[in-house]
């Protein structure tokens, strides 16, 4: 594998979907995306689904591209955090940074009738430079297939309902050899959390 001139670079990500922190529920009805959204005082018993969206030049080589977490209940303390700690582990290979993988999270939970409805969506690019990253990202209300794309977003209106914290450990291989410099190589330690 350690060929003098690699033809692909690798991006390994493992980490976890740590927790969600729903903000106070929306006071008014979400108007445009008429996904049933009555005033939920709080969310509970949520689970989440993740998948990766990536460009044509990317291919997963190992690990799981998709996953559905367990159901979590609110913690009983003041934070009322919904903790999943659901592991992510995937490795991509690619020839082109265009279409850098994004993780798309969809959070589901039961509504008053007990039906599973979607509570939120969120997407974030995987970190570019290797290291350990904490991320928080507000889920947004739109359809999962477009959450990672710009196209067609104009027809939806979303509002933030909270944020999910993700943790990524990123390892890249051969990126530099192919002429891509992912910024300061913080080879060790924890780089600062990326603000939501």
């Amino acid at each position: 594998m350690a060929a003098a001139s690699p033809s692909v670079f690798l991006l390994m990500v493992n980490g976890q979907v740590e927790s969600a922190q729903p903000t106070v529920a929306c006071p008014e009805r979400c108007e445009r995306p008429r996904v049933l959204c009555p005033q939920f005082p709080e969310y509970d018993d949520l689970y989440c689904k993740y998948c990766f969206v990536y460009g044509q030049d990317w291919a997963p080589t190992a690990g799981l591209e998709e996953g559905i977490s367990q159901i979590t209940s609110k913690s009983q303390d003041v934070r009322q955090a919904l903790v999943w700690n659901f592991p992510i582990d995937v490795t991509f290979k690619s020839t082109n940074p265009y279409g850098w993988p994004q993780i798309v999270l969809s959070v589901y939970g039961p509504d008053v009738f007990g039906n599973d409805v979607v509570r939120g969506y969120g997407a974030v690019h995987l970190p570019f430079s290797p290291g350990r990253w904490f991320m928080g990202r507000r889920p947004e209300y739109t359809d999962p297939k477009v959450v990672a794309q710009g196209e067609g977003r104009e027809v939806t209106r979303v509002r933030s309902q909270g944020f999910v914290t993700l943790l990524f450990n990123v390892v890249t291989k051969d990126m530099r050899k192919l002429g891509y410099d992912p910024g300061p190589a913080d080879t060790q330690g924890v780089s600062g959390p990326c603000l939501p």
């Binding site: 692909v8 082109n96 196209e151 027809v155 939806t156």
Partner: protein, 1613 residues
């Protein structure tokens, strides 16, 4: 951590250990040494030196307990220290060091350090001398010793120690501050203290004499080199003291030990302030005096005062500006930041004084009103002739407003003398006012002033940036300009003065005239106002001006004089020389005359004698002064003279009539009798005239009339005619006034009132005071000084284009204007914007601009200057382009060529452009070299082919053109829809349940009561799969072959095939029996129990072949599922790609025939030797796109069986067929299939796009409503009201139906048989190739072409076929409708319905077949709507199967009409042409094509049989060729028997299997596919021969019917 670093560490540690060991030893020795101490000599070996050194150390601080500390602390870091004096030697020298030597070296270094410390304390040259020997020593040592480890470690050690030195330095910095707090002296301090005080001076002195004198000379240089180490040595000293303490404390000595924590140092405020002052700069807020900002001795120069344009500077507060100026001055003393006026250079203020954004709407205003968009339907432009406006438009589209304000006579026959003078006076006064307004003299004076300034400024030698000659040049320019300006100024001033004088003179004349005639005719009154001036100042100014002028003149004159002097000198020299020569000549002549007196005649030069030049006069100051003063007196106001300002008023009173003399009264009465009117002529035609108005006493006529000319044509001339009427009698034309035609930008309200002068040449003599016109008269009593005045005057008017109600100027379009009208062109150019319209010559313009000294900085002139710049710089270079992103180039990170050259970038770009070949290209390689060139080859080939009409495949040139055209249409349409494809609706993005309303709730409540397990199970929909995550092999096409009906059976003699040797006889025997073959009784002919037919089905798709088992009998039942894998082109499983898959699923039915080939009858008992042959019986072809869109295809299909199937016949034959029986007309064989794709794919949706339309908006709304209504009731039924034509416009569907003539040729064929004609027409239509829209316009909706387009394209899908057929039927006088419905296998399709004598017939336009309404095998399965020529009916009957519905559209309960009483048919004109024109197809071309196809097919068959020899039976081929025209003639019917007989007769010896194929011709490829699918070539009997014949029958309009007869022959032995 860096591995290198670690290494260094280890090594240094080693060193330290060694040092310690050495120290231990040294300690002992040093003790001994101490006693001996001073007596030691200095010039010893290194060991000695150490001792010496330690000894010195002892001397330095006898108080110190541990003298070794020097040595101990030094070595590890001092190694290289000793080197500086000999840097060049050190590198090589170190290489040879052994470890030990190194140690020694270090010690040496340490010692020398210590010495240098001493040196610093006692700054004498001695210590240097002390060091010399050691250095010498070390030098020699380097040479002798060698040690390899050191070579490696040395540099590292070096760096290590160096870093430590650095560290030490920093420490020293802290320490060096005089900071000692009183109290506890630290060890170092104590040490310092002691070393300072107890320095043994005498010792040093003692050592001095010992020093070698030879070193002296070098000392100075050396000393310089050594300076830095010496200084550092001081620090070492201090540190070593500290180390000593550490040592005392017994601490380990590591590198880290040198860190020390100390309290922060105190800095006094003053010190800090002082330091801050050094480092910081606070710019003052005070205004900087101007002289500081300018170069020395330069006066500020204010460009604005010189008349140059300077934009407004942006506003900056004074303090900020001052701070900035101060900062700039401090920072950059070059002063390049400051302009000539001593201010910071600044661009004009870029902020516009007014906001350019539209005002934000307040909450109260309704946004809708403001932002409402008006939709204007695009109107098709019809060409109109230039001079006529189309009759459809209301007349007077364009309007020209002519405002005639009034008329003033500047001379009139009835003018009295006073009037003449008054007119003159008024004219002069106007002139005066105009001059006053322009105030040229003042302007020129100012300019002169500025220029003089500039010259002064320029003469100033301290103009740093300009080279001398440019300065000189500018000064010269200035000077000449001064001269010119002065001249101009003088002229102007003189003019002013003369004008004033003239005014006064005329006024005086007038006054005298008034006095003389004793009455006043005019109210004119001139008042001269005097303005006092300050005499002294005035005089001074005057004098200064004169002086300045004199000096300038003097200068000029001097220059001139010098020039002249120069000239004079040269000419004088010349003259002198000439004189001399002359004299010499004369002398010579004299001699010559003496010698040869006869030669005198020929005088050598008859040259004229140069005149002796006269020296020019030197300039004479008094003379010049005299001149200047004279001129000033003439043209200028004398100093102290008051300024005269004339004021003309009409305040005077006129003498009333009764006080006037008779002649005057007569004149006045004459004036009153006259009246004037104007005629307006447009293009030399009178269009209107003003009212007739009486001439006033002041000879003014006021009209104030506005004429609105409603014009049709572009105006060519606009004329006013002035008519005068005297009394009631005559009307005379006084003059014609030509008005300019306004430019298109001039519209009503903006046009200024202009005056146009006119004059008349009429001669009028009057018998009263009036002076008349064209006749001489005089003011003088004696009649001298005669004047002749002609009638003249001015018309004030304005001409402008009117503005329509909606603010659009009513101007004829520019295209109407002929070239002669410049005004139109002027709109675009820059010159007119400046105001000098009509200038066309750029060079002249540039010249003018240069001459008039246009200020190039003035933004008003910017367009003009730019134009000139462009025009003059590049000669004729005017950019004919407009660049939208002129900065784009800056942002390109590489050039376009490079981008194109890189294969990777190219690939990436093509992919992002969604070029089909690359749309789904995955993992584009990183390097160019990894990209194969062949990746692009296909693409490039396609690009090339786009422009090349490929005749290889398409053969027929016309079709090639059509193919190309189709390709273009497709591309343009696809491009149009690409954008639409990326447009999303909410519904696309969000899956959402409908908000439940009461009815749904009710239904669901009702559902609760439903049975949980219904008895009739319902089919559940499969889960649909989106195309994106599919790959090769995921998709399969499932074909369920269930059963077939009416498969042709072998003719009874087929049984005789079992008798191998006799098989050739079968045909012959069969022949007589053939007429009765249809009887079902023939099965008795199978004595051996062989069934009549053993059919099996073979399905081929994408060249994958699957077959069923063999069934038996003419009605076999297989019930087998065949699975065929599906591969998408390019691995692209996107919807668009899947839609454009052109592959067909071929379902071929074969008969499996067993041939017994046992050669010998005797072997029959013991063995069976048979060969299985397959005979093709027919096929069903289903396009993949149909399967894809239908998701599943379930039904019974008619098998296409060739018209002649030798050796087979239909078991059941319905003989009587025709229109008489409306019942089952069908014949032929059928197969029941179920085809689907697994997994089910989601078919792409057609693009939602609102298309433009020519249709009425109301109609479109009605169609929407109709459609919505229908969809609500019957969502499954197709409802079609509007369709999209080829240009992408929505068209109402009935417009497509119109009776159209079929080709006359077809009508002539069966003149008396309507039915046959109809069939023939249907056949003709079906011969036009079929090309579904979904393939040609993948992902795009259905496009309808009109019948002529369809015939031109020769390709179309069901709609086009149906429309054409329907139109033909309408033309044949049938009642015909278009039926929109669902059929198998095509899905939604169009059929044609005709009404024939109480029966309805359904025509399949693509196959040409027709079915009765109650034909169960009719492929049309449901009917959605009917379309007639004038209406659309939607099927609202409970059933939609044609079998069960009533086609009577007059019943509104069954058929919902689109146009009804509430919405009557508006009479929509058809989009179809009135008539179709058919060209006869070139028969020769068809024949050629026929030959070529035959050749191609033969080659193909040979290709398909690579392992066998393919023999062609030419005899058979020619026979077959002979048959094909017959088949065409009979349309493949009823010839079977004759044909068979014929064949058998001719090919008696062969076992023959073959069949004719019939197809419409579009391309060769489908023909090849069809031949391939029959599998004729698969026969591998060794002695097989083949026959292939092609026949093409040309129909009009290039419609070709292709017959291919393929056969295989096996000779019977």
């Amino acid at each position: 951590m860096n591995p290198k670093e670690e290494k260094v560490k280890i090594i240094t540690e080693e060193f330290i250990e060694n040092d310690e060991v050495a120290d231990g030893r040294r300690k002992k020795t040093s003790k001994v040494q101490r006693q001996r101490g001073k007596k030691q000599t200095l010039t010893t070996g290194p060991e000695e030196m150490v001792l010496e050194k330690s000894h010195l150390g002892n001397q330095q601080d006898p108080m110190q307990e541990e003298p070794e500390t020097h040595l101990v602390s030094m070595p590890s870091r001092q190694g290289p220290r000793s080197l500086p004096p000999i840097p060049s030697a050190s590198r090589t020298g170190f290489a040879e060091f052994s470890m030990r030597e190194r140690m020694r070296e270090k010690l040496q270094a340490a010692r020398s350090k210590a010495e240098s410390v001493l040196l610093q304390e006692i700054p004498t040259p001695q210590p240097r001398r002390l060091r010399r020997p050691s250095e010498k020593e070390s030098e020699t040592e380097f040479g002798t010793e060698s040690g390899k480890e050191v070579r490696r470690t040395q540099p590292e050690d070096d760096s290590q120690s160096y870093s430590r030195v650095k560290f030490d330095n920093s420490v020293r910095k802290i320490k060096s501050k005089p900071q000692t707090p009183p109290g506890f002296p630290s060890a170092e301090e104590a040490y310092n203290f002691f070393t300072f005080n107890f320095d043994p001076e005498p010792e040093e002195l003692e050592e001095k004499p010992k020093a070698k004198n030879r070193e002296r000379s070098n000392q100075e240089e050396e000393g310089e080199e050594e300076e830095p180490p010496i200084q550092e040595g001081d620090e070492e000293e201090l540190l070593s003291g500290k180390d000593a303490e550490d040592f005392l404390l017994g601490l380990d000595q590591t590198t880290d030990d040198f860190l020390e924590v100390r309290p922060a140092d105190y800095e006094s405020v003053h010190v800090r302030l002082q330091m801050e002052e050094e480092a910081l700069f606070i710019p003052s807020r005070l205004t900087v005096p101007t002289y500081r900002k300018l170069p020395e001795n330069v006066q500020p120069r204010f460009l604005e005062d010189e008349g140059l344009y300077i934009g407004a500077r942006p506003e900056v507060t004074c303090t900020n500006q001052n701070i900035m100026e101060n900062r700039l001055l401090a920072q950059d003393p070059e002063k390049k930041w400051f302009g000539d006026d001593g201010r910071v250079l600044a661009l004009p203020n870029p902020i516009k004084p007014y906001p350019t954004r539209p005002p934000v709407l307040t909450a109260g205003q309704s946004i809708k009103e403001e932002l409402e968009t008006l939709y204007k339907k695009a109107v098709k432009y019809i060409h109109r002739s230039q001079h006529m406006i189309g009759s459809g438009d209301p007349p007077g589209n364009f309007q020209l407003d002519i405002d005639i304000a009034g008329l003033i006579f500047t001379h009139h026959p009835c003018f009295s003398r006073e009037h003449v003078l008054a007119a003159k006076l008024a004219q002069l006064y106007n002139q005066y006012l105009a001059r006053q307004q322009r105030n040229k003299a003042k302007f020129l004076t100012d300019k002169l002033q500025a220029l003089r300034h500039a010259v002064e400024f320029g003469l100033n030698p301290e103009k740093p940036h300009q080279s001398l000659d440019t300065t000189q040049k500018t000064i010269n320019e200035y000077k000449s300009e001064i001269w010119q300006t002065r001249k101009l100024r003088d002229a102007e001033q003189e003019k002013d003065r003369t004008l004033l004088k003239t005014i006064i003179k005329v006024w005086k004349e007038m006054k005298s005239l008034r006095e003389f005639q004793r009455f006043t005719n005019t109210p004119l009154k001139l008042v001269l106002r005097k303005e006092k001036v300050d005499q002294k100042a005035d005089e001074e100014a005057f004098e200064a001006e004169i002086q300045a002028e004199i000096s300038e003149l003097l200068e000029e004159h001097t220059e001139e004089y010098e020039q002249k002097m120069e000239e004079y000198r040269t000419s004088y020299q010349h003259w002198k020389a000439w004189k001399k020569a002359q004299r010499a000549k004369k002398k010579k002549k004299k001699h010559a005359a003496e010698e040869h007196p006869d030669e005198e005649i020929e005088e050598p030069y008859p040259e004229e004698e140069p005149v002796k030049p006269i020296p020019p006069d030197p300039p004479d100051r008094p003379v010049i002064e005299q001149q200047v003063r004279e001129r000033a007196a003439q043209s200028r106001r004398k100093p102290g003279e008051p300024v005269l300002v004339p004021e003309l008023s009409l305040a005077g009173s006129m003498t009333p009539n009764d006080q006037c003399p008779r002649v005057e009264v007569l004149r006045r009465e004459d004036v009153k009798r006259r009246s004037v009117y104007l005629k307006v002529l447009f293009n030399h035609k009178e269009v209107s005239r003003t009212v007739s108005r009486q001439l006033g006493a002041d000879f003014r006529v006021h009209f104030g009339q506005i004429f609105n000319l409603q014009i049709l044509n572009w105006p060519e001339s606009l004329t006013l005619q002035v008519y005068e009427t005297i009394g009631l009698s005559s009307t005379t034309l006084l003059a014609e006034v030509f008005l300019p035609i306004p430019e298109t930008t001039v519209v009503t309200g903006r046009a200024p009132i202009e005056e146009v002068e006119f004059s008349s040449n009429q001669h009028v003599t009057l018998d009263h005071e009036g002076v008349g016109s064209g006749v001489p008269f005089s003011f003088e009593a004696d009649g001298s000084n005669q004047l002749i005045l002609m009638t003249s005057g001015k018309v004030s008017h304005s001409v402008a284009w009117a503005i329509g109600e909606n603010g659009i100027p009513l101007i004829p379009p520019l295209s109407q204007q002929s070239i002669g009208f410049r005004s139109a062109l002027k709109r675009a150019d820059a010159i007119s914007s400046v105001g000098t319209s009509g200038l066309a010559d750029m060079k002249k313009l540039a010249k003018w601009a240069a001459e008039s000294k246009l200020d190039p900085n003035d933004p008003n002139n910017a367009p003009l200057m730019q134009l000139i710049l462009i025009a003059t710089s590049g000669e004729s270079y005017v950019p004919d382009f407009f660049r939208l992103e002129q900065l784009q180039q800056e942002f390109n990170f590489i050039s376009d060529e490079e981008l194109n050259r890189s294969k990777r970038f190219r690939l990436l770009r093509l992919r992002s452009q969604e070029v089909p070949e690359f749309r789904n290209y995955k993992q584009i390689p990183v390097y160019d070299r990894e990209i194969m060139e062949k990746v692009f080859q296909d693409y490039e080939k396609r690009l090339r082919d786009r422009n090349v009409i490929e005749t290889k495949d398409n053969i027929d040139a016309h079709r090639a053109i059509v193919a190309k055209y189709l390709q273009q249409v497709r591309e343009s349409v696809i491009n149009r829809f690409l954008i639409a494809k990326h447009h999303f609706l909410l519904a696309d993005l969000i899956v959402e349940e409908e908000v439940p309303n009461i009815s749904i709730l009710g239904l669901s409540l009702f559902k609760l009561a439903e049975q949980k397990r219904p008895l009739r199970p319902r089919r559940r929909g499969r889960k649909k799969v989106t195309a994106q995550n599919l790959s090769d092999g995921d998709i399969k096409v499932l074909v369920n072959v269930i059963r077939a009906y009416d498969i042709p059976v072998r003719t009874p003699t087929a049984s005789k095939f079992q008798k191998p040797s006799r098989s050739s006889r079968t045909f012959r025997e069969k022949h007589p029996a053939s007429p009765s073959t249809h009887s079902p009784t023939h099965s008795a002919d199978y004595p051996l129990g062989q069934v009549s037919v053993r059919p099996f089905v073979e399905v081929s798709f994408q060249r994958t072949i699957c077959r069923t088992t063999t069934a038996e009998g003419p009605n076999p039942s297989w019930n087998e599922e065949l699975e065929l894998p599906f591969r998408a082109p390019n691995g692209d499983y996107s919807t668009a790609s899947l839609q454009s898959v052109k592959d067909d699923v071929f379902i071929n039915i074969f008969d499996e025939v067993m041939y017994d080939i046992t050669e010998d009858d005797r072997e029959r008992e013991s063995g069976i030797h048979t060969r299985i042959e397959r005979h093709w019986l027919g096929c069903v072809k289903i396009p993949f796109s149909t399967i894809y869109f239908q998701a599943r295809i379930d039904g019974t299909f008619k098998i296409n069986i060739p018209p002649v199937l030798l050796g087979y016949s239909k078991e059941r034959h319905i003989v009587e067929r025709g229109f008489d029986s409306g019942q089952s007309l069908s014949e032929g064989s059928y197969i029941t299939l179920f085809i689907t794709i697994e997994p089910q794919l989601v078919p792409g949706e057609s693009v939602r796009e609102k298309f433009d339309s020519q249709e009425d908006e109301k109609l479109l709304q009605a169609t929407e409503k109709f459609r919505a209504d229908c969809a609500l009731k019957f969502p499954d039924r197709q409802c079609l009201t509007t369709v999209i034509d080829l240009s992408g416009k929505t068209v109402f569907v009935t417009r497509y139906l119109r009776p159209l003539n079929p080709p006359q040729e077809l009508l002539n064929m069966y003149p008396n048989n309507a039915q046959a004609t109809a069939e023939l027409v249907a056949r003709y239509v079906s011969l036009i190739p079929f090309l579904p829209d979904t393939i040609s316009f993948a992902g795009v909706c259905d496009l309808w072409s009109t019948s002529d387009q369809f015939l031109d394209l020769l390709a179309g899908d069901e709609e086009e076929h149906a429309v054409l057929l329907c139109n033909y039927f309408l033309s044949l006088g049938k009642k015909a409708w278009l039926v929109m419905g669902n059929a198998i296998p095509e899905g939604p399709t169009a059929y044609v319905l005709t009404w024939e004598q109480s029966y309805y017939f359904l025509w399949n336009p693509c196959s040409g077949h027709f079915y009765g309404q109650f034909d169960t095998f009719c492929p049309l399965k449901s009917v959605g709507c009917l379309i007639g020529t004038d209406n659309v009916w939607f099927n609202i009957q409970p059933y939609d199967s044609p079998l069960r519905i009533n086609f009577d559209v007059t019943k509104p309960k069954l058929w919902k009409p689109f146009f009804s009483r509430s919405l009557p048919y508006p009479g929509l004109p058809s989009v179809q042409p009135e008539e179709l024109i058919y060209q006869r197809t070139d028969k020769a071309a068809a024949a050629e094509l026929q030959d070529r196809i035959e050749k191609i097919l033969k080659e193909k068959i040979m290709d398909w049989r690579p392992r066998h020899l393919t023999r062609w039976n030419r005899y058979c081929t020619s026979t077959l060729r002979h048959f094909l025209p017959l088949l065409e003639k009979s349309q493949g019917e009823d010839v079977e028997d004759d044909h068979r007989a014929e064949l058998q007769k001719q090919l008696g010896d062969y076992r023959f299997s073959g069949f004719p194929l019939h197809m419409p011709y579009s391309e060769v490829k489908p023909l090849i596919e069809a031949v391939y699918s029959t599998g004729v070539h698969n026969i591998d009997v060794p002695n097989v021969e083949f026959a292939l014949a092609v026949y093409i029958h040309p129909y009009p309009k290039n419609v070709l019917s292709v017959w291919i007869y393929v056969a295989s022959l096996i000779r019977n032995r």
